[in-house]
């Protein structure tokens, strides 16, 4: 029997869907600009945001399945677990790719991303542990991206350049809230975290639109 979808699941679905749209749009623009300027960090940003967008789409789908059915049947449980694990994995890889891109820009080609192997192994210890670990890893990687973004900010800034950093800071804050919500199993906190993450993507959307309307100087 299908139960009515809870309000929180519906909100999570739409916020994740919109965040996915912004992530994929950012990925597309980074790809387009990278074709002009050929920059390794932009390539990483393009790939990272594409993975993030795909992950958010999977997560949006998961919230619909779990929200509509309250995960009553075994097949829905398996599907939800699989989708959650997929989302968390894609998210970690996405932030890892972006962080490695920034690290290579800051420290040259000396960085070797050995983390994915360790993360793949941790998937076996269960989805809860995996969730905690993935949000923790995503939080650490995002903190690194924000730190590098601050360091690499050039002296000559565009009108909208602060929006990207603000976006990353909001997504970082969201992951802290999401991590706490997973630890405390708080549904309200999870919703707040999703909302803050959406605000981060909204900031990126403002930047992407803003950088498109730059006219001739």
């Amino acid at each position: 029997m299908i139960s009515p979808m809870p309000y929180s699941a519906l909100v999570t679905f739409f916020l994740n869907l919109l965040s996915a749209f912004v992530a994929l749009l950012t990925s597309y623009y980074a790809y387009k600009v990278n074709r002009l300027v050929s920059n390794s960090v932009l390539r990483a940003i393009s790939i990272g945001f594409m993975l993030l967008g795909l992950g958010l789409l999977v997560d949006a789908g998961t919230s619909i399945i779990s929200g509509r059915t309250l995960v009553e049947s075994f097949s829905d449980k398996v599907l939800t677990l699989f989708a959650s694990a997929t989302y968390l994995t894609l998210q970690m890889i996405a932030y890892l790719v972006i962080a490695v891109g920034y690290a290579r820009a800051a420290y040259g080609g000396r960085i070797r991303p050995a983390m994915p192997v360790a993360l793949a192994g941790s998937a076996l210890v269960g989805l809860y542990s995996y969730s905690v670990l993935s949000y923790l890893v995503a939080f650490v990687l995002l903190a690194f991206v924000v730190f590098q973004g601050m360091l690499l900010r050039s002296g000559e800034k565009s009108r909208m350049s602060g929006m990207v950093l603000l976006g990353f800071i909001l997504i970082l804050a969201a992951h802290f809230i999401l991590l706490v919500s997973v630890l405390l199993l708080g549904a309200d906190l999870f919703l707040i975290g999703t909302m803050v993450q959406f605000l981060g993507f909204l900031s990126l959307l403002v930047f992407v639109i803003g950088s498109e309307v730059v006219g001739p100087g």
């Binding site: 002009l36 920059n39 690499l152 990207v164 950088s211 001739p216």
Partner: protein, 94 residues
């Protein structure tokens, strides 16, 4: 990384030359040389390259040689300004 930096610097120099040509209208090589801060040898190489790509065109009037932007060159500058704005947002430079 080294290759990326080399490509970026080539792009930056090309953009500086195009901006110099745009600012002057019909730009003499000496003016471009001064504004883009290049040696004569490198400037000739870049001007040939930009002419071949159809971003600038040469006007020859007796001894005088000037360069002006083509419509493709104007579009390229606008596109690069957008790209630069995007790249700077992520704390990078072209």
């Amino acid at each position: 990384m080294a290759q990326g930096e080399k490509q970026r610097s080539v792009l930056r120099i090309s953009l500086d030359i195009l901006n110099a040509v745009r600012d002057e209208g019909d730009a003499k090589p000496t003016h471009i040389l001064y504004k883009a801060n290049l040696s004569h040898e490198r400037l000739v190489k870049y001007l040939d390259d930009l002419t071949t790509k159809g971003l600038i065109e040469m006007q020859q009037d007796g001894e005088n040689r000037t360069y002006r932007l083509t419509p493709k060159g104007v579009s390229f500058i606008i596109e690069m300004r957008r790209a630069e704005s995007f790249v700077q947002g992520f704390g990078l430079n072209i």
